[in-house]
Each structure stands twice: as C-alpha cells, then as structure tokens.
Amino acid sequence: MSQAVLRLARQQAFSSLRSPEWRALLAALLVAITLISLLTQLGDRLEQSLNRRTAELLGADLVLRAEEPAVLATQGAIRSSRVAQFPTMIEAGDEMMLVSVRAVTDPYPLRGAIVTEPAQHPDIPEPGTAWAEPRIFEMLQLEPGDTVQLGYSKFRLSHRLMSSPDRGSGFRSFSPGLIMRSDALEATGVIAPGSRVEYRQLFAGPAGAVATLEEQLRENLGPDERLYSLSADQPMTGRALRNAELYLRLSALFALLLGALTITLSLRRYNAAQHSRAALLLSLGLENRQLLLLYGYQLLFGWIICALLGTALGFGLQQLLVQLIGDLLPQPVPQAGIAAMSSGALIGLLLLTTLGLPAFYRLSQVSVVALFRETSLPSNIRSRLIQLLGFGLLAGLMSVYIESLTLALLLLGALTLSGLVVGWLAQALLQRLAEGFRHRMRLGSLLLLRIRQQRKWHRLQAATMTLLLTMLATLIIARGDMLQQWRTQFPPDTPNYFLINIQPWEKEPLDQLFASNDLSPALYPMIRGRISSLNDTPLAEVTLSTEQRRHNALRRELNLTWTEQMPDNNSLLSGSWWQGTPSEPLISVEQDLAAAMGVDIGDRVSFQIGSQLIQAEVSNIRAVQWESFTPNFYVIFSPGALDNLPATYITALRLDGEQRTLARTLLQQFPTLTLIDIDQLLNQAQALIEKLVDSSSMILALTLLAGLLLLVVTLMQELERRRYESALLQTLGATPGQSRQLDLLELLWLGLICGGLAAVASEAILWLISARVLQIPLTLHPLSWLLLPPLSALLFTGIGALIRKPLDQARCYSLLKAN
C-alpha cells in the first residue's frame, strides 16, 4: 500500500504543477533555497578568505608580542617561530638610513609567503646576507649583492623584499623593512638594554590546538604582552569584511523569514484547495495516516526539485558576486565548503517540515463528510501542538543560523515591530485615500469596501515591500551620495599628508624647506610611553571596570608629546593650560582617556618611558577633534618634562596642485622620514565601501525578489473572491475596464504609498547616519522621492496584472453558475 501511496504522491506532485497554489509553494521554496544557499556560500567564502588574509598579515595563526624575549616551548602539532623587530640605522658608503629590522628564526613566516626578487629564496636569509625592501635599495643607491653595515656586522643584500607578512604594527611598519637571521643578531651589538625592541613569537597549527594555546596564553598574559589571533584581531578591511559577513547572515535571515511567510501562505491555499480532494481519497478507501504520508511524500518530491535547482542557482549567483567583489579578496578565493553548499537545501527541508507537516497533519484529519457539505478542518490540541513545535523549530533554526539567539530575537523583534508600524500606517493611508475618492468615482464605495476587506493582506504587503524598498534606497543613496559628502565636508585646508619619523636633526632643515614653500605646519615631538601608575598606585592594582580597562590607551604604549601652546582642534574642558615651562611636569589628558582612568585635575599619573619613570600632575582635561587629520594626542606634557628623551617628530600638511611635487622632494632630501598620503588611503577605503555596498545591493535586490514572491502569494490569497466579484460586476453591466480599474487603483495606491513611506523611512535612516555616524549636515534626496513611489507602484500593479488576469466576459456567467 505504501508503494501505491508513493506512486500517487509522485503523480500528484507533477500533476499539481497545473495548480497555481502548488506552483507558488514551489517558487517560494526555490527562492528561499537559492537565496540561503547563495548567502551561506558567499559568507563561507568570505570567512575563509578573511581568515587566510588575516593569517597572512599576522604571518601566523597566533602571535604573542612582548617587550622582553620570551621563549615558550610548543608542543604537538603547533609550529613556532621567533622575531625581534627594532628600528636602527644602516650605512652604505656615506649614506645612512633608518630601517625596521626583523631578526627571524627558521621557518618564517608560518602563514603567508615572502615574495622576493629574484623569486627563488631560502626560508630565511643565508648567513651573512639580508633581504631589504626596494626603498632601501633606492635610497642608498644599492643593487642586489651590495653590502650594508648594521652595527658591527656587514650584510650582503641578496634579495629585494617585495612583500612579506608580519610587518609589525603601528608606525614601526611604515619604516622600510629588512629581514636578517636571528642568530646573527648578537654579533651586530645593536641590541642593548633600553633598546626599543619588540619581541614576537609566532604560532601556527591545527585550529583546535591553536585555540587551546590561545586560551592558555591569554590566561597568563603579562602587562606588557599582547596576543594577536585570527579571531580577535583584524585589520581595517578585515573588520569591513567581518561586517559584510554579518550582513550576509542578516540578509539570509530576512530571506528565511520572507520564505517562511510565503511558504506558510501558499501552503494554506494549497491546503484549502486540497480539502475536497483529500475527502474524496478518504471515501475511496485511503486512511487518514496514509493521507498524511501521501502529502508528506509530495512535499519531499517538491523539495528534491527545488533543492537541486536552488543549490545550482545559488552556486552560480555566488560565483557571479565573487567575481564582482573579487579584488577585495586575496586570490584565489577559497571555494565554499560542502556544509555551506548544502545549507540552502537543508534549511529548505527544515522549513518545509516545520511549516508543511502541521498544515498537512490538519489536512489529513479531514472527514468524508466534507464531500457532502462544507466543513472546516478540525483544529485539535494535537495539531496546535505540532504547529507550536514547528514555530519553535523555526526560531531555533534562525538562532543557529545567526549564531546568536539574542541577535536572532532582536532582529525578529525589530522586523516585526517595524513591519507592524509600517503596515498599519500604509493601510490607514490607503483607507483614507479611498474614503476621499468614495463619492468622486464610480464604484468608489466598492473600492473602499474592498480596501477594508483586504486590510490584513495590504498590511503584510505594505510592510514587506516598504521595508525592502527602504533598505535598498538607503544603501544606494548612502553609496552614491553620503560618502562623497563626508569627504567634501572637510575644510579645504585639511591636511592630506602625514609626515612621521622625523629625526631631531631633520627638524630645522625641514622647517626651512616648509618656509621656502610658504608652509608652516606644527611639528610635534613624539615619544612612546606607557601609563604605569595613578596617584602612586600601579595601574594593575587600580580598580577599573572592564569597560574602562578596554580603553585602547591603557592597553598599549601611547604616543606622548609636549608643547607650549594647546594644538588647534583641541579645546579645554576643565583646568588651565600651562604658561612657559612649569617647574614640575604637568599633563593635559584627553576627556575619554581621563574618564577611562578616572582621573581629574590634580591627580598624578606616572609613565614608563624606556627605562625612565616620569610622574606628572594632571593640569587640564581636553576635547580632541579626532577627525581633523592632524596629529592628535591622548596625553600632552608641559615643555621641559621630556626634553632629555629621544624623540622623533610628526606633522601633517596640506599639499595641493603643484605643491604635490614637494612630497617627492621631501622623500629625496629626507630619506628616513615616512610620508603617508591620506587622499590615497581615503580613496582605497571608499573603493572598498563602494564594492561592499554594490554586492549588498545585489543581495538585497535578490531579497526583493523573495518579497515580490510574497506579494504574488498574498495577491493570490483571495483570487477566487475577486474573480467572482468581477464576474458579478461585469454581468451587472460593469465594463471590463471598470472592473480592471478597481484592481489597478487598489494596487496603484498601495504601491504609491509604500514607495512614499520607503522614501520617508530611508531619509530618516540616512539622517540618522548623517547626524550620528558621519556628523554631516542633513540633505534631502528629491530623486528618491520622485522615483520610489512610481517604481513601487509599477511593481505592485505589474504583479497585480500578472496575477489578476482580466476575466473573459464569456466566462462570467458560467463562473456565477458554478459558484
């Protein structure tokens, strides 16, 4: 018998393709599987690529940084390597140059690869040789094979170092780099007590072993030690990609929700249409249990078709998207794993099971009596329980997918709430509009009636479409408009170059060079130091909240400076600025840091600078305009306090038009200083953001497809009723045009309202971003006001025309007779 049921189910799955309800169900499932498969595969590839890129930047899976050499024995599958990095001068003939040296042990690096010229190279430089970055060759006018003096040793520069991971962090990474063997370090004599050396130990190995090691290291982390790992530390692009990944998950969740809604509605319709068929099958001898089996099999057949098709489509689309954003990612982009590839199909199956089984369970409880008179499907506690279980499973599925129950719930709540508000508002506006037209057009009262009748569908349709259009409009406008606006808001004299690593002896000739070019940027001395105690209590013993401890400035060395005048772009909040050179060291503290440390005027703060300990009294608290593109400091000392300590200088300047050639002159005349082109950095950031927004818009456009499908299904919900109404109206003398007009106006108005609401909502979101994130003045976007309502109206009426085909007059009477 079960064979017969299986055969019947297969037959029914295919013959049902003629039924619009079954087609809608399959279409909803297909779109959901395609979208989820696309987004999960894309997310997986992004994550893999991100981990690989971070590993390559770190040169390892895990890096322990310390100011003292520490050698940790490693066990098992973990490989390890050690690096000492320090700035030093090298000499070649009469020329000298400041370089950043990495003395490394074999193997190096553990992740990623060093690229040299010539390309063939041993794992690390051979004894007596070193590899140097091209800038060293250029500045010192050397060729590969030439020799440089480093401390007491001579090294032959055998290779140009074209690129390498693990370049170190902060300003250290800006100096031209040189790689040498660790075992040759001692002979150079450049490392002495108090030298600014950073020691790093690199680790790599299987993910599980690395995680265990990371946990152990983190527990025993000393105050001067820092641990960098794939999971916690990412460069700027890494953060952007991480956000992109979260965005993909959220989009997938939205698609999942839309899919679930569409599937529920199509199932409901399909179920209703199957009511008498199920009763007939019962009357022919099928048992209720077999009926459930029959529809279960049918769902399975439908799922197989959609799973194959959806997975293939998802794969194709994500390949297309990876092509689009490909140059953001290290090549080749790793392929998605099997789990990600099959996720769409599996989630589709879960959706179908959780939503379909309760529905079909109710259908299987139908009675033969339904053949003789209209009965409603039984709704007993058991079917309610199954339904509840279905919803529970769906909620669980979402939280597993998002990897956070709180986030899933928050998102669900936010979507539901905004959906409710938007839906209610749109419906109220639509009804108001129809009331206004009630006496101004023929059939006006019928239209008003229909709008009242359809209000729950209108709310759902409006909520979905308005939210989707809002997101799409926000993304597109933010991409085209706001980034540009953010950049142009800076005053025209905002610096576009940073100069760092200026040596004390270069200060005077540099000032002269600036003066001869009509420039007068302020040069700030810069010394690195760490806050060690507050009011004579060591920092480690000061009671600070976790939040306070998390402040960046308390976890690392700070750039300290001293100045007589308060820098521009700073404003005094409390206390007073010093006059001349005070007898005791005074400091000015930035407001956020002051809050994090809990210090106020008169408190004493000690700094560890090299081997010296310097204590200073807080003289004032300052606000800093961080986005001013000028050197900004958390802590500023009064003149005299740091005079005897070795410092380099930093400045920022604006070079426009012909002045830009000065950048080259600077590098030629002062080879050891480092020039940072801010315009170039901003261009790179903008290009990155634009690419991410482009791919997000594509994904959102696909989600819009899921929304349109929901619109289709909701428009199909009361199709029979509308056809009946049309038939009656046309029989009573309404022209086909009048009858179409009723449908058209309802959808046209709803579309216009949704578009209008989306325009308002996107302006509101953009306003929030302008005011809160970018801090730029509000601008309106009239184009979106003009385009969104007609676009949305077009979507609504287009789909309406597709679904509600005009009724042939010849069928009107037979439709009425059949009713």
């Binding site: 019928l446 009748q453 086909p736 037979s814 009713n819």
Partner: protein, 231 residues
C-alpha cells in the same frame, strides 16, 4: 405567424449556433436557432440539464457570443459591439435574477441594490435603492448583510437590485431553485407583479413547469432546438 414589427422585438436570435472545442472534439450545442421576444412579453425557456439553457441566456444577454448567426438585444446587433459597448448596453437595458442570489456578502442589502446604479453612475443611487427595497418589503432590513437575511429575503434583495435600473429585459435563471415552495411562490408573485407594473420583458429559465406556466410563452430547448410548447 406574422413577423412582429422591429420596434416591438427587444431580443432576437437568427440562425444562431454554438460550438465548443473540447478534448474529445467539437461539441455542437445549438444549430440554426431562432427566437424573437417582444416588449412586455414573458418567456419561459425550459429544458433538461445540459441542454444549454444557461449558455443561451448568456448569449442573449451579450455575455457570450454565438459561433454563427446574429443576436439583437434592445435594438443593437451584438456582433457589432465590442465588450465595453456590450457592457454599457447591459448596464442600460438588462438585469438578472440568479438561482443563488449572488449578493456580495460584505455589502449591506442597500449597497447591493445600489451596485448596478453605481455602475451606471447614477447620482441618487441611495434613494432609488431605498425605494426598491421598500417595493420588495425590505425597507427595514436595508443595513443587514446578506448573511443576516433568509434565502427568500436575499432573493427579494436580488429582485430589487434587478428592477432598480428599470431594465427593458430581465433574465431570471431558476429564481426559485434554492427556495422552498412556499417562499418560492411568494417570490414569483413579487417578480411577476413588478414585471407587469414595470412593463419589463421577462426571460425566465426554469425546470419548474408550474412557474413556466405563468409566462405568456414557453419554449422547450431540446437537442439544440427551440420548440414552442403550450402549458
């Protein structure tokens, strides 16, 4: 039989045939069917199920078109009119009373009667609808929804709706089919009473020979042919 004067004939069919294409081949429902109905006449068309009574009615009312032949309705050749013009003609000259009433369930009795008046774009639709509801004795039930009315009351609302536009021709398709005999009889009385009062041409389709006998003419539709019968 002498041909009636053209101005007296409100519905006519000349050599009308109707074919359907089905999977099993072509199905001929009528062939060379002729019919003339004069103003004020009441005509019953009777016949067994499947004879094509409803198809004939929808062709005469301009809802469907014959495969060959010509139908004239209220002075117009239907073949020469497009869908919109046929709809306007219907709105102006034709009304229906159906077996299953066909009231829109979410409209009150009053609004159901107003519906065809609104389609015609008449300004005082509410007053007219009120008037016709009182004519069928339902003035007090004007605000009730069809679901709150009995079958007989619903059919009376449908009759009010049919007469509200003062049609030249009223098509009634099994008007008592869904009612018990007592209610059916009172509905028929009302229908014929209003018909006489309004001088409307009535074309009635029915199984019920007693109902048919109240009409001035009776035609039997059998095997694609219309035959005049006597009571």
């Amino acid at each position: 039989m002498d041909s009636p004067k053209p101005d007296q004939v409100v519905v006519s069919a000349h050599a009308v045939s109707k074919k359907f294409h089905t999977q099993g081949g072509e199905l001929q429902l009528f062939e060379n069917l002729n019919l003339e109905v004069r103003r004020g006449e009441s005509l019953a068309i009777i016949g067994p199920s499947g004879a094509g009574k409803s198809t004939l009615l929808s062709m005469l009312a301009g809802l469907d078109q014959p495969s060959t032949g010509m139908i004239r309705l209220a002075g117009s050749n239907l073949a020469e009119l497009d869908e919109t013009a046929r709809a306007r003609l219907r709105a102006r000259s034709v009304s229906f009373v159906f077996q299953s009433f066909h009231l829109l369930p979410e409209l009150s009795a009053l609004d159901n009667v107003r519906l065809p008046l609104e389609i015609r774009g008449e300004a005082d639709s509410e007053q007219q609808a009120q008037h016709w509801l009182s004519q069928v004795g339902l003035a007090s039930r004007a605000e009730h929804l069809p679901g709150q009315l009995s079958g007989g009351e619903q059919q009376r609302v449908a009759i009010a709706r049919a007469f509200a536009t003062r049609p030249d021709i009223l098509f009634a398709d099994e008007p008592t089919g869904n009612l018990d005999s007592e209610t059916g009889a009172s509905i028929v009385d009302q229908l014929f009473g209003l018909n006489a009062q309004q001088q409307t041409t009535l074309i009635l389709i029915t199984h019920d020979s007693q109902l048919a006998s109240r009409c001035s003419r009776r035609l039997q539709l059998r095997q694609g042919q219309l035959l005049e019968t006597t009571a």
